[in-house]
C-alpha cells in the first residue's frame, strides 16, 4: 500500500508552490538552528499563526521544512564554536569542535550534514512502509520500558570517559541535582528552590549547555592569550567530495546510528539519548577509541545520524498516535488542530492527502535541505577565518540572545554566565562535562519514569524485570554496567591481555 500512496503524496509535495515553501522553510530553519536557544520548537511556534491561511498540506510542509533546517543547522555551531544549538547536538561537539580547531571544519560539517541526511532517509523509509505497525510497537512502551531505555543510555556511557571515575561521578551527581530543581510532577511540590521564584522553573538544559560548552570554551581561549588568530580553511566545495570518499568506511556506524535514532526517536524526548547512545556505541566498537574526543570523523557521524533519524521518527507518534515525539512536534500538533485536522490514529484514514503529502515532503525536504547546507559548507567553514577578537564578542552576543530566547527571561543570561564559569573550572580541573550534561537532560525524564513505574507496581522493582520489553532492555543495560569489569577478565581468559584497559 505504501508505494502507491507515496506517489500520490509526491504529486502533492512536488508542486512549484510547495517546493518554494520547502526552500523557504529550510532557509529559515537553518538560521534558527544556527542561533542556539531559539530552536526548532520556537521557530515553528512563531510561524504557526502565519500558516493559518494556507492549505494544511502546504502549512505542514513549511513547518516540517523549518524543522529539517533546524536539525541540519544545529550542527553548524556545535562544530564551529562548541555551542550545541539543540540538546541532541551536544555529542556532535565532542569531535566536531576538535576537528574544526584542526582546520577540518569543512570535513566535520560535511560529515555531519551527510550523516543527518542518511539518518533522516532511514527513518522516512521506515515511516513510509511501516507506520501503523511501528505505532503499535510504540504503544507497548509505558513508564517501565521508558525507564529501562534511560538506564541503557546511562550504562552505554559509563566507563567511556576514561579519566578519573570519581570525577565522572561528581559530574554526574551535579547534573542530577540540577535536574531536580523546580517542580516535581509526581508530587506537584517545588524542590530546591529555597523560596526563590526564579529557581522555580528549574535549569533549562539549553542554557546550561550554551554556558558550559560555549562560554566555557571562550574563557579558555581568552586565557590562552587571544593567540588564536583564526583558522586557515579552503573555500572550496572539493572538501565535500573528499569527505564523501572517506565516509563509506563508517557504514556500520551509519547503520547503527540510524537504527538507534529511529528506535529511540519514536518515544518522546528520544533524540538526545539516541545521539549520546550512538556516540557511545561508536566509541565502544571502534578500533581506535582513543581517537574519540580528539577529532574523529566517526564521532561526528554517529550522533548526527542518530539525532536526525530520531528527529524524523518523532513525527511518527504525532501522525499515528496524536502524541508529540518532540517539543517541535508538539507545536506542529497544535497546528494540525488549528488547521482543523485531528492528530491521532484516524489521520491516515480521514486525511490521506495530508499524511502522504507530508511523508513525501519528508523526502523532498531533506534532499533539498542537505544539498543546500552542503553547498554552503565552504562558507560556514570559512567563518573560522575571522580573527578571534572579532568573532568572540559576536559569539557571546549570540549565546546571550539564545539563552534569553529559551524562556524570554533575563535570569537565563545570568545562568549562562554562571554555567560558563563552571564549564571553565571543570575543564581546568579536568572534570568531564559530558556526564553532567547527560544527567541534566535525562535525569528528570528518568526520575519521572522510575517513579511512575514504582507507583504502578506499588513499590515493587520487579516491574522492570517481569514485563518482557522492559526486562530485556534492563538486562542489556546491566550488562553494559558490568562491562568495564568483565572485559579485562574475558580478555585474560582468552589469553590476550595486551589490549585490556582500553575503554
Amino acid at each position: 500500500m505504501g508505494l502507491e500512496n507515496l506517489f500520490h503524496g509526491f504529486q502533492i509535495a512536488v508542486t512549484p508552490f510547495n517546493l518554494f515553501i520547502t526552500v523557504l522553510g529550510i532557509t529559515l530553519g537553518t538560521i534558527i538552528g544556527v542561533l542556539p536557544g531559539l530552536g526548532g520548537a520556537n521557530g515553528v511556534a512563531i510561524l504557526l499563526p502565519l500558516t493559518f491561511t494556507m492549505p494544511p498540506t502546504s502549512a505542514i510542509i513549511l513547518l516540517t521544512s523549518l524543522y529539517w533546517g533546524a536539525l541540519f543547522g544545529g550542527a553548524i555551531t556545535s562544530v564551529l564554536f562548541n555551542i550545541p544549538g539543540e540538546p541532541w547536538s551536544v555529542a556532535t561537539t565532542f569531535d566536531g569542535y576538535p576537528l574544526a580547531r584542526q582546520g577540518q571544519g569543512g570535513q566535520a560539517l560535511t560529515a555531519a550534514f551527510t550523516s543527518s541526511f542518511v539518518g533522516a532517509l532511514f527513518s522516512i523509509v521506515l515511516i513510509t512502509f511501516f507506520a501503523p505497525l511501528l505505532a503499535e510497537i510504540a504503544l507497548r512502551f509505558g513508564p517501565p520500558e521508558f525507564f529501562a531505555i534511560q538506564l541503557l543510555t546511562f550504562s552505554s556511557f559509563i566507563g567511556l570517559g576514561g579519566g578519573d571515575p570519581l570525577k565522572s561521578l561528581v559530574s554526574i551527581v551535579l547534573g542530577f541535582i540540577l535536574a531536580a530543581v523546580g517542580l516535581d510532577i509526581v508530587t506537584g511540590q517545588l524542590r530546591m528552590t529555597f523560596g526563590f521564584v526564579d529557581l522555580m522553573k528549574g535549569f533549562d538544559f539549553i542554557v546550561a549547555v550554551i554556558g558550559l560548552f560555549g562560554i566555557g570554551e571562550i574563557l579558555l581561549s581568552v586565557e590562552e592569550g587571544l593567540s588564536f588568530k583564526g583558522i586557515r580553511t579552503s573555500m572550496n566545495l572539493r572538501v565535500v567530495l573528499d569527505t564523501w570518499k572517506v565516509l563509506p568506511r563508517y557504514a556500520r556506524t551509519f547503520v547503527r546510528g540510524a537504527f538507534i535514532g529511529f528506535w529511540m526517536g519514536f518515544k518522546p524526548g528520544g533524540a538526545t539519548p539516541a545521539s549520546f547512545m550512538s556516540y557511545a556505541f561508536a566509541k565502544r566498537f571502534s578500533k581506535h577509541p582513543e581517537r574519540f574526543g580528539k577529532g574523529e570523523i566517526e564521532g561526528v557521524v554517529a550522533p548526527e545520524t542518530a539525532a536526525h533519524a530520531a528527529g524524523v521518527a518523532a513525527m511518527l507518534p504525532m501522525i499515528t498516535l496524536g502524541i508529540p515525539g518532540s517539543p517541535t512536534a508538539a507545536v506542529m500538533m497544535g497546528g494540525l488542530i488549528i488547521w482543523g485536522l485531528q492528530p491521532g490514529p484516524m489521520l491516515f484514514k480521514d486525511n490521506p492527502d495530508f499524511v502522504w503529502g507530508l511523508i513525501a515532503s519528508m523526502y523532498t525536504g531533506n534532499l533539498i535541505g542537505v544539498l543546500m547546507v552542503l553547498a554552503f559548507v565552504p562558507f560556514f567553514a570559512s567563518i573560522l577565518r575571522i580573527p578571534f577578537a572579532i568573532l568572540t564578542p559576536l559569539i557571546v552576543v549570540i549565546c546571550a540572545i539564545g539563552s534569553y530566547a529559551v524562556h524570554n527571561s533575563m535570569i537565563d543570561i545570568w545562568y549562562m554566565v554562571i554555567f560558563g564559569v563552571v564549564g571553565y573550572v571543570f575543564k581546568k580541573l579536568d572534570y568531564p562535562l559530558a556526564p553532567l550534561v547527560l544527567a541534566l537532560v535525562l535525569g528528570d525524564l528518568a526520575e519521572n519514569a522510575l517513579r511512575q513505574s514504582l507507583i504502578m507496581s506499588q513499590g515493587s522493582l520487579a516491574i522492570f524485570v517481569t514485563r518482557p520489553i522492559a526486562g530485556a532492555i534492563t538486562a542489556v543495560a546491566l550488562l553494559f554496567f558490568a562491562l568495564p569489569v568483565l572485559t579485562p577478565w574475558w580478555r585474560r581468559l582468552r589469553g590476550n591481555p595486551t589490549v585490556a584497559h582500553e575503554t
Binding site: 504557526l48 499563526p49 500558516t51 510532577i185 506537584g188 507545536v331 511512575q452 515493587s460
Partner: protein, 332 residues
Amino acid sequence: MKLEAVLAIVLMLLIAVPASAAAWEPTKPIEFVVPAGTGGGADQMARLIAGIAEKHKFSPRPLLVINKAGAAGAEGFIDVKGRKGDARDHTIIITLSNLFTTPLHNNLPFNWRDYTPIARLALDQFILWVSTTRPDKKDFKTAKEYIAAVKEQMGKPEQMKMAGTGSAQEDQILTIQLEQALGLKFTYVPFRGGGEVCVNLVGNHVDSTVNNPIECVSHWRAGRVRPLAVFDTARIPVGEWKDIPTVKEALGADVSYLMLRGIFGPPSMPKEVAAWYVALLQKVSETPEWKKYMDDGALKPAFATGLEYVKWVEENETLHKELMAKGGLLKK
C-alpha cells in the same frame, strides 16, 4: 517652517482621530502568555486565537504566543503579575485550572484577584475513559461494570490505575472526587500531558483516565478507548458525544468538574484597554474556525465577561479550595 506646521497638523490629526473615537489600540505586538507547555489544550487555544486574529485582521498588531510553563504555570502567572505600563497593556494570559490549584498547592504568591479579568471563553469537559483492548480481555461497556471491577481490585496488588496530568491538578482532584463519592481507591499515576495520558491508556499501561474529550477523541474513533461517563450535570450536546451518559446517570453520583479556559490581563489594566481585548475575543468567538474547534473538542461555549465572569471565578476558587481540602492537596 511651513512644512513643520503641516507635519504638526497631520500628526495631531493622526493622534486625535483614534483618540476621539475613545478606543485604545495596541501599538506593539501583544504578548499572549500560556502558563503551560507547547501542544497542550491551553497552548492550542492561544495559538488558534492568534491565528484567527491574524487571518481576519482583528488586531493591528500580531499576538505572540509565549509559553511560560515552569512550576505548573506559576512562572507565567508571576511574570504577568509584574508587568507595568506599556508592557501591561500589551500582555494577556490564558488560564486553566492551575490559576487556582498551583497557588493553593504550593503557596505561591499569586491569586486570580491580582489580575484583570477579561473574558471566559469556554469550559472544558472531562470524561472517564477505559481501554477496549485490555490484556485480561475484560471489556467494560458501562461505568457501572468498570466501577465494580475497581472495587474488586481495591487493596490488591493489581489495584486499578488512574492516569492523569500532573499532581494536585484537575485530573487528580477529579479522581479524588470520584473516589470519595463512590468509596473507591485508585492508584493515581501522574504524567506530563493529556496526550501522553491517553496513549498510556491505549497501551494498557493504566486502566482508566479522566482525559478532556479532545485528548482522546482520535483514539475513540479508532476504537481503542471507550468513554463511559461525562463529568458534567448534562450530556455534551454535539455529535457522537450525545450518547455518553453523565456520571449521575451512569453511577448515581454527583461528581462534576469543568475547567476554565479564560483570559486575564496584568494587574490594574485600564478599562479601555481591557475593553479592546474583550471586543477582540468576542469577534474571535464568532468566527466559524472557533466554532469548529469548540465542536471538534466538545468544549462548552461559555463566553462571559465582566461581573458574570468574576462571579464564576469566585465560585470556582471556593470550589477548588473545598475539593483540594477534602483530597488533602492543600499546602500544609
